[in-house]
């Protein structure tokens, strides 16, 4: 069937600059560049370009330019090009539209409507270049009080706690969705920065067991790669109920990405689709969650916190309260903008709520119920910079997960082709030719650099607010003000309007 789909991008080549080195040919995993021997010229099939900039970045002479295809439709606010083209795709395939990465739509980004405070006159700002500034965070269940005997000996034994030097962790991205080199980069960077990375639901390659002390292992509905050693090497075990990119459905790994190594790690046949069931089939209710939480605690001899991750949805506050009471030591909320390696587009773009609102209401609810100490809150889904991190902490988060930001550090340009397995940056693919493009030495360096940069910025912001420890910002919403928000939004966020 001839496709009616117009090209998204135009690729232009300056033939004066082109030296016919064929780097572009080798770099483009979508086969858009080729050498035409008859004309002795490099040529481009523009219709296949996804806008990933791999060729542009690696062209040694800067001969390539990628531009949006200036194809003009007749103006129609309802029938925008994206919706027209989605219909064309479905008319030609009859399938569910798949996509990658997070929601790219225009729902309000609350981070952009929140601003932070700084000290002036009545209290001094603190200079992190000259004074200590502490970001250390411990995740895990805390009791309401500490008991001492008369000789000041500690009588309270804490549930397992996990130390983070920086309150930013790498979000769950499974082996299979991303390559082993990406996993190794994440693991090494997390170890260097004193934080944690998350295996996602596809198991942990034995090569990476040595980073176990900085590893969160996931147990999802497909139970891929879950075995005693997997739980044993980890620092934290996370039960995945849902994720922000696709609340209500399970993980999708197309069979094309299930290579030999992936198959061995996931414990599934090579080349088969790994489709996680939508629910965990042993969790149909909150009491079932408690059973799985305690089964995992038993299996790990109560030495590791058990985390439970959900997608942020309408009743998050009540659900989170139930999760804490079911024994979760850490609760993870993944918001509307959380990303994925593959999800139905209609789900990604329409299901779930913004993480800022979910976080605010969960933190408030747990405090109202007097159980906020009993679990740490981790949020994810669209955190872009240290400013977003600081705002999340002030709203009440103990730490954040970053997924997309970490991948961008490795080269990702958000071209949203993760589900194709053809990632030209070698990130979201298991093709050995492509995945070696992420060199773990360099990848780990880039990721650790990102965390270092954010840490320095967080310290600057904290010092500006006149505080020198992260716990004094955590849940301290007086350091936030809203700009351009309605009264209801301010009420849910628990912040005052700027100027108030």
């Amino acid at each position: 069937m001839k496709t009616y789909l117009p090209p998204k991008f135009l690729v232009e080549r300056d033939q004066d600059k082109c030296i016919k080195c064929e780097v572009c040919v080798n770099q483009c995993s979508f086969d858009n560049h080729y050498y035409d021997a008859e004309d002795d010229e490099m040529k481009t099939r523009t219709e296949g370009c996804v806008g990933c900039h791999r060729c542009v970045t690696f062209c040694p002479t800067g001969a390539l330019t990628v531009r949006r295809n200036p194809l003009e439709y007749r103006d129609n606010y309802n029938w925008r090009p994206e919706y027209i083209e989605d219909i064309i795709k479905q008319a030609e395939t009859g399938g569910v539209l798949l996509t990658g990465m997070g929601n790219d739509k225009g729902q309000r980004i609350y981070w952009d409507h929140l601003v932070l405070n700084a000290s002036q006159v009545t209290n001094p700002s603190i200079d992190p270049l000259r004074e200590p500034m502490e970001l250390t965070t411990y995740l895990g269940r805390k009791p309401d009080r500490v008991e001492l005997d008369t000789d000041l000996n500690l009588q309270t034994e804490l549930a397992p706690q996990v130390k983070l030097e920086v309150p930013v962790m790498f979000a769950a991205m499974s082996y299979g969705a991303v390559s082993l080199n990406v996993h190794e980069s994440l693991a090494r960077a997390a170890t260097e920065a004193g934080t944690l990375w998350n295996t996602g639901e596809g198991g942990l390659h034995p090569k990476l067991y040595k980073y176990g002390n900085n590893t969160i292992v996931q147990v999802a509905s497909g139970r891929f790669g879950v075995h005693p050693e997997y739980l044993e090497v980890a620092r934290v075990v996370e039960i995945k109920i849902g994720q922000g990119a696709k609340p209500g459905i399970g993980g999708h790994l197309p069979g094309e990405k299930v290579s030999a190594e992936v198959s061995a790690t996931r414990m599934i046949p090579q080349g088969t689709d790994a489709l996680s069931p939508a629910p965990q089939h042993d969790i149909y209710s909150i009491e079932d969650l408690a059973q799985l939480v305690y089964a995992l605690k038993e299996a790990t001899h109560y030495t590791k916190p058990v985390s439970v991750k959900i997608a942020a949805v309408h009743n998050s506050a009540a659900i989170a309260s139930g999760m804490v009471r079911a024994g979760a030591d850490i609760i993870v909320l993944d918001g509307l903008r959380g990303a994925t390696g593959a999800a139905p587009k209609v789900i990604r773009d329409n299901v779930g709520i913004p993480i800022e609102l979910a976080l605010a209401s969960v933190d408030t609810r747990l405090r109202q119920e007097g159980i906020r100490n009993r679990a740490s809150i981790v949020v994810s889904g669209g955190i872009r910079n240290s400013g977003d991190v600081a705002k999340a902490i002030a709203l009440g988060a103990d730490a954040v997960y970053i997924g997309t930001a970490a991948l961008i550090a490795l080269g990702c340009r958000l071209c949203q082709q993760c589900h194709t397995g053809k990632c030209a940056w070698g990130i979201c693919t298991t093709d050995l030719f492509l995945s070696k493009r992420v060199n773990p030495d360099i990848g780990a360096r880039r990721l650790a650099n990102l965390l270092r940069g954010w840490s320095l910025e967080l310290k600057d912001m904290l010092g500006g607010m006149g505080i020198n420890a992260l716990e004094s910002l955590r849940g301290n919403r007086l350091h936030l003000r809203g700009v351009g928000l309605t009264e209801t939004e301010l009420k849910i966020l628990g912040v005052k309007m700027a100027g108030e």
Binding site: L148, Q161, G370, N468, A469, S472, L473, G475, L478
Partner: protein
């Protein structure tokens, strides 16, 4: 008072913001002394306040009623007084009531009516409830439900006197030179966002706990939210109130000694904790993990007192001043050393404690000359 919040923080700022002078004097042998020196000392720091609040706390004040709760209540109307007195009679055994003596003082204008009551907890209290909890609840009840009345002192054998004015003027107004106590704290206030309200002056008091405070606590937002989980409602919107409730929670309810409480309110740095011997390290880490939300962050110096003990504490990087002086069994705490030297020129010792290190004067451990700073803070380090 119903209009408490409006009066204390009329513009609904995040909190009342103020700076101050503070002073404390304690005879650790328990001997009572007159307030003349303390009044001179706090007056010497006149310029640290702006006349919008001054106050004193005195311990060992009412030996004749030592076993009774002494309530100091300010009234804005006769009706308020009648209502509250009826309430007190209903809820307590009222032993004695009198107007707090005052003298006309030119600078003190428009003062409220101030009375004191000596109360015994009687059979009205539910049997299972502790006396102190019952009293706290009644104080909160009066302060939130009775318009025109405010309980600003509620401990046994101690009392708070405070109001709008410079501290020396408040002392003159309440004739404080005539009182004796073994422990005095004093405060002169410089608020920036409150017109000054009698109840808003320091010391803050609940039961026999008092707090005078110089500083702005930048962690106020989370300190308050943490305390709310334990049923404390910070109606006054001042950071001083947070200090008072934090101390009440930690010492009275969680039964922690002051040395430990100091390590919660001004916790050691993680890097310092890491260098401690194993046992202390675990203790300090656990305290910070559990009570991190009570870390008082931002510039502050406080003098916290209750019967038998006076504690001086600064934030952990000491952004507000505190000087300590010792002479015989006397311990002095002050924003400025000059104020101590004024009334006790021949100190045995004077020093500036390190940030976050508590200075504790206690009847249980009377000072002998001279006392090294190290000795007093070595408990957990």
């Amino acid at each position: 008072m119903k209009e408490l919040e409006r009066i204390q923080n009329p513009y609904n700022d995040d909190k009342a913001i103020d700076a101050c002078s503070i002073f404390g004097a304690m005879d650790t042998s328990g001997k009572r002394f007159s307030g003349k020196g303390v009044i001179r000392a706090i007056a010497n720091m006149h310029d640290r306040g702006n006349g919008l609040g001054g106050g004193f706390a005195i311990y060992g004040l009412y030996p004749e009623y030592a076993d009774l709760y002494a309530f100091h209540i300010m009234y804005l109307s006769q009706k308020g007084k009648e209502d509250v007195e009826a309430f007190l009679k209903e809820k307590f055994r009222l032993t004695h009531a009198e107007e707090v003596p005052t003298q006309p003082t030119p600078k003190i204008t428009n003062p409220p009516l101030v009375w004191r009551y000596f109360l015994e907890v009687g059979p009205q209290k539910p049997e299972e409830e502790a006396d102190d909890d019952y009293v706290v609840e009644r104080v909160m009840e009066i302060n939130t439900k009775f318009p025109d009345a405010f309980v600003f002192s509620s401990g046994k054998d101690m009392g708070v006197f405070k109001g709008v004015g410079y501290p020396e003027e408040i002392a003159e107004y309440f004739c404080l030179e005539q009182y004796e106590g073994y422990l005095w704290t004093a405060h002169g206030r410089f608020p920036t966002n409150t017109p000054g309200w009698w109840g808003g002056a320091h010391p803050f008091c609940i039961l026999d706990w008092t707090v005078v405070h110089n500083g702005e606590i930048s962690s106020y937002g989370i300190n308050r939210r943490y305390l709310e989980q334990f049923g404390y409602h910070c109606t006054m919107q001042t950071d001083t109130e947070v200090v008072a409730y934090a101390v009440d929670l930690l010492m009275r309810k969680h039964n922690l000694p002051i040395e430990i409480v100091a390590k919660i309110l001004a916790s050691p740095l993680w890097s310092d904790i890491q260098r401690l011997p194993q046992r202390e390290q675990t203790l300090m880490r656990t305290l910070r993990q559990v009570y991190g939300s009570l870390l008082l962050n931002g510039p502050f110096t406080v003098i916290i007192a209750h019967h038998g003990e006076m504690i001086g504490l600064t934030d952990r990087i000491r952004l507000r001043p505190l000087t300590v002086g010792a002479k015989g069994s006397m311990l002095y705490l002050s924003s400025e050393e000059s104020a101590i030297r004024l009334i006790c020129p021949d100190l045995d010792e004077a020093w500036i404690p390190a940030g976050g290190e508590p200075v504790v004067g206690s009847l249980k451990a009377p000072l002998k000359t001279p006392v090294a700073a190290k000795e007093m803070v070595s408990h957990v380090d």
